[in-house]
């Protein structure tokens, strides 16, 4: 009798476990953009956010420097180079239903130039910008899919 | 911290001036050595000793006994001395340049040449100390004058032992660079982080 129930129970546990793992994951896209007023040029890969960028900022030129998609697992930080001379550490610190909670740290020369926790819904983007780069500024566009 | 000292501090925290007198008798020389090490001038050092103990009486209520009392006191002494040098912001001018400014010491058996050399070295040292960043100055005084261990220095300076060693290393290096003309046969021996390029003969030992 016991054996009859063991296999379904183990299967159920495995299903729940894998579901929980799947639930504890989110794909996060990070784009590093240089915005400036030199020329009028929009990087083609930024067309999907150009409208927002245009409505929010007064720059005439946007160039994509880096595009990374991270598969974040709950509470496991991932660090990427956030160009130039900076790194960005992204951690998925919460995930429920349709809200992903991210902790984002931007570090330069071992100093936290930004430490933030944001909530993202699918399709929503957080733009982090301001640090100077050459003739323009750097903007990090962070969005999540899950 | 022994029982006697704990009791003395506790009485002082309650405003007992006699207890402050006991602390003063116990620590006045140590405090004087530290402040003199920084300012290298008697009258200034005495004023600073006075200032330290007045400050101590005012602020001893903040001492919670989590660290040793001497690390609390030493930190206060060093901060007071360094703040004083910052406030006075003196640019060092050699008093030997002024005619008649030199005062011979009380020890008449010393020849005037020796006194002059000693005075010159002391003024040169004071000049060099003023060039050091505050933390390196503090590290050198605590180690060379008071003989504190790295652990004790870390407590007094509120930093790690690694930081203490780094401050000592760079402080010594800088002082040796600044004082190389006064460092006798060992003028170039400042950099301990790289291997020596040439081995000198043992003759240097005989000269000392």
């Amino acid at each position: 009798m016991k054996r009859v129930f063991v296999h379904p129970i183990v299967l159920l546990i495995l299903v729940l476990f894998s579901t929980s793992i799947a639930l504890g994951q989110a794909q996060t896209r990070i784009r590093v953009i240089q915005a400036s007023n030199i020329g009028h040029n929009i990087d083609p890969s930024l067309r999907d956010v150009y409208r927002e960028l245009g409505s929010l900022f007064s720059f005439t030129s946007y160039r994509l420097l880096r595009d990374e998609t991270l598969d974040l697992i709950l509470n496991q930080p991932v660090t990427i180079s956030a160009h130039p001379g900076r790194s960005m550490e992204v951690s998925l610190i919460g995930l429920r239903r349709d809200i992903a909670k991210l902790r984002i740290r931007v570090v330069r020369e071992e100093r936290d130039i930004l430490n933030t926790e944001v909530r993202l819904l699918p399709g929503r983007t957080v733009l982090i910008g301001g640090p100077r780069h050459g003739e323009g500024v750097i903007i990090y566009a962070v969005s999540a899919h899950f | 911290m022994n029982q006697e000292e704990t009791e003395m501090i506790s009485r002082c925290q309650q405003g007992d001036q006699e207890a402050l007198r006991e602390i003063y008798d116990r620590y006045q020389k140590k405090v004087y050595r530290i402040v003199y090490g920084v300012v290298r001038q008697r009258e200034e050092a005495l004023d600073l000793v006075q200032e330290v103990f007045i400050k101590l009486f005012r602020s001893i209520k903040n001492f919670k006994g989590r660290s040793h009392f001497y690390t609390y006191l030493y930190r206060m002494v060093m901060n007071t001395a360094i703040d004083h040098t910052r406030k006075t912001g003196k640019h060092f001018i050699s008093s030997l340049d002024e005619e008649g400014s030199f005062q011979p010491s009380d020890e008449v058996e010393k020849g005037p040449e020796r006194i002059l050399l000693h005075k010159e070295a002391e003024e040169k040292l004071k000049w060099a100390m003023e060039k050091l960043p505050a933390e390196q100055k503090a590290a050198l005084i605590f180690r060379e004058v008071e003989g504190l261990s790295y652990q004790e220095m870390a407590g007094a300076m509120g930093c790690s032992i690694g930081t203490v060693m780094s401050r000592l290393h760079y402080g010594r290096k800088r002082m040796q660079e600044l004082l190389k003309d006064y460092m006798g046969a060992h003028g170039q021996g400042g950099d301990t982080s790289s291997a020596p390029k040439a081995q000198k003969s043992p003759k240097a030992d005989e000269e000392r």
Partner: protein
């Protein structure tokens, strides 16, 4: 030999300060017997210590602290009993507010609070029910502004360097 020299040089200060382990002491002492250059370095440190320490020791030995305790006592006594005029003056005294370590952080805090409050007061987008996108933000080196776009699809975290203009969101 050069490798050993560089190894010993790294330990020399610890040895000089009597913080070396027994093993390190043996290594250093053994090497110093055969390396005049490293011995030279040690002698430099000894000479510096002598330069720094000896005058201080001499001054402390000779010092009899004339009138120091009396001055301390007098100062403490005078501080204990302020006159009515001094009490009034200390109550009305605003000079501590003008100390740099008070007014600089106070002004900086006020500026940050004003910036944050201004965003809330002058925000054109209506507040939306539910959660704010940015839960927490701090920066060691920049002033930070958080802005929500009208369509609420984009949130902007903008880092200001000092009082720069021209690079801010429109």
């Amino acid at each position: 030999m050069q490798d050993l020299c560089s190894q010993v040089l790294k330990l020399l200060e610890k040895y000089f300060d009597q913080e070396a382990t027994d093993k390190e002491k043996l290594l250093v002492e053994g090497h110093l017997q055969v390396c005049p250059a490293c011995l030279d370095v040690l002698r430099s440190m000894e000479e510096l210590r002598t330069l720094i320490k000896v005058p201080v020791e001499a001054a402390a030995r000779e010092e009899d602290f004339p009138w120091v305790w009396q001055k301390i006592e007098r100062e403490i006594r005078s501080q204990r009993k302020p006159t009515w005029l001094q009490s009034l003056r200390s109550r009305l005294d605003v000079s501590p507010l003008f100390k740099k370590k008070i007014w600089i952080p106070a002004v900086a805090t006020l500026a940050v609070l004003l910036m944050i409050t201004a965003q809330l007061i002058f925000k054109e987008t209506p507040s939306y029910p539910g959660l704010s996108d940015v839960e927490y933000v701090e920066s060691e080196d920049y002033n930070v502004m958080v802005y929500q776009s009208e369509n609420q699809k984009v949130t902007v975290i903008w880092l200001f360097e000092g009082t720069e203009k021209g690079a801010s969101p429109s």
